[in-house]
């Protein structure tokens, strides 16, 4: 049994009267791709925000590599090795693609405000190293040709890739992908699936919120199904596809059971 990388215990979050995440308890083993699916409003993104520290839970615990990280700030969570992407890409539109990725080196570099102001030699050495590493990541992902372009001018598909490159630049152990295939065409989605699989093979554990069922069924080792903030099923994709409760809440009626994409 692989090491449990991330664990949530009885996680809860409210928005006013809405119980967005209810008693969510699940584990994520190192080296797997786990999918989170569920109808709109099921609490998937909220769960992501809780893990990434963007929201504080109203109950429960988040444990990462045996360490309690409940209520940690996002930058501290990132420094620990958890990176995320956003459902709608949040690139720094007026910065170049290269600069976008360089920002992501922040948690792995040290020079502070004062050193920066004084322009100490180590500031420049460090920045050069960040630039080289960022460029290497862009090259690896086939984005080197747009390194100097303003991120706001990228096509939708490329913007998604840059956001992924940016997350990778933080040197994560765990990657949280929030609907990475949203807005991509079939070919781009296939490429993305391949990319996520390669990422996993390079040793990075992935947690993926996704609506594209074929992608989820293709790449995920395990799937968690959320409905109204609650986990209603968890298991390998094959089992999930046949789970009557999942079919009821997620697909609406049994006629579609054999064709979950629709």
């Amino acid at each position: 049994m692989a090491e449990v990388l991330l664990e949530t215990r009885g996680l809860n979050r409210f928005f006013g009267g809405l119980h967005a995440v209810r008693d969510v308890t699940f584990g994520l083993s190192r080296g797997m791709i786990k999918g989170i699916i569920g109808p709109n409003g099921a609490g998937k993104t909220t769960l992501f925000n809780l893990i990434a520290g963007a929201l504080a839970p109203h109950g429960g615990e988040i444990i990462y590599r045996g360490r309690r990280i409940t209520g940690w700030q996002p930058h501290a969570v990132a420094a620990l090795g958890i990176a995320r992407t956003f459902q709608t890409t949040r690139l720094f539109a007026h910065m170049t693609v290269l600069e976008n990725v360089m920002v992501a080196r922040h948690a792995r570099t040290r020079c502070g405000f004062l050193a920066g102001m004084l322009g100490l030699p180590r500031v420049w050495r460090e920045l050069n190293e960040s630039r080289n590493r960022a460029m290497a990541i862009l090259e690896r992902m086939g984005l080197a040709d747009c390194a100097g372009e303003a991120a706001g001018n990228l096509s939708f598909g490329r913007a998604r890739l840059v956001e992924l490159a940016r997350a990778m630049a933080t040197e994560p152990e765990l990657l949280l992908l929030d609907e990475p295939a949203a807005g991509l065409n079939i070919r781009e989605t296939e490429d993305l699936g391949e990319l996520i699989r390669r990422t996993r093979d390079s040793g990075i554990t992935c947690l993926v919120v996704e609506h594209d069922m074929s992608l989820v069924m293709n790449i995920c080792d395990e799937v968690v199904v959320l409905d109204q903030g609650r986990i209603i099923a968890e298991g390998p994709p094959r089992e999930i596809q046949r789970n009557p409760e999942v079919i009821r809440v997620y697909l609406g009626d049994e006629d579609h059971a054999e064709n979950p994409q629709s």
Binding site: A83, R84, F92, F113, A115, G116, L118, G119, R166
Partner: protein, 357 residues
Amino acid sequence: MRSLRTYAPLLALPAVAVGLHGVLAAEGDIARMTQLIMSAYYALVVIGLCLLMGYAGQASLGHAGFFALGGYVSAAMTTCNLLPWRQTTAVRLCEIAGLLIERKDPFGMPLLSFSPWAAFATAMLVCGAVAFVIGVPVIRLRGHYLAMATLGFGLIVYRIVLAAAVFGQADGISNVPPFELLPGLRIGGSRAWRVENYYIAWGAVMAAMLLAINLINSRVGLALRSIHESEEAAHSLGVDTYRYKLAVFVFSALLAGAGGVLLTHYNGSISPSEASVMKSVRYVAIVAAGGMANLWGALGMGMVLNYLSLRGQFGRYDEAVFGLILIAMMLFAPQGLLRPVDWSVVRRLLAGRARNG
């Protein structure tokens, strides 16, 4: 990218200073240096505000408050008279530490007050501490909420300097002594020192620009710009957004305070108008006119607009001109005040007018 392109403009600044000196000398009008010196000290505020607003995207309508705070603390400390308390332990300790100077006031009466260096250091401490204390709760606010909160701070400082006896109420503080930086090198308004003061002021601007340029071209500069673009994304990538926003807020307040101290010693006085909200609005307008995330634009606009204003070129419409600049920026920077000017919009507007006309 420690390149010539980053620093070349900084090397050009001394040339600009010498060139302007040459022009004024040729015209036989060295007196006009005074307005350039004053503009340079105001430009310190603008440089700090450019970092805060243009790069980090945090608007402040209270920077005149920090400018005045610096100026007033320094003025009050260098004009107070500690002679009646000379025997107290505190004053004696200060005297032993070399913080006090004995001199005569303009009426020939003996005076024991703090040395300008001690006053400068204290003013910086006060500005930094006040910015920190205000920043801790306020910097969490975003966009116009932060602007409103800093506006409140500016109003408070204005009311305090108008009301407090130690700050001279409506008269302000005059007879502020020159600031002896080095033996024989003084910041002060005397005619005999004007040329030295002109180069001291440019030196201060260059020092501030050097710090600002270094910062912008460091990892911290990238972080500040990323905060401007998307605080949430920056935070998720490991940028401690709150700490950086607070740091740049405090630094910009220190620069504003330093400008206040230096100008007060140059002028020999400070009045409540320096703390007025109109001054804060003016600084914002200058940064906007300079193109927001553009240090050189801000500096250029700061020098030119303040110089014209101090020369009385805007006449009775002085404040109105800065209001007009703000309106123009709102129109031509459609992504909001906190973005660089979008020249394509200007071109389109002009082209549209040409077609219609």
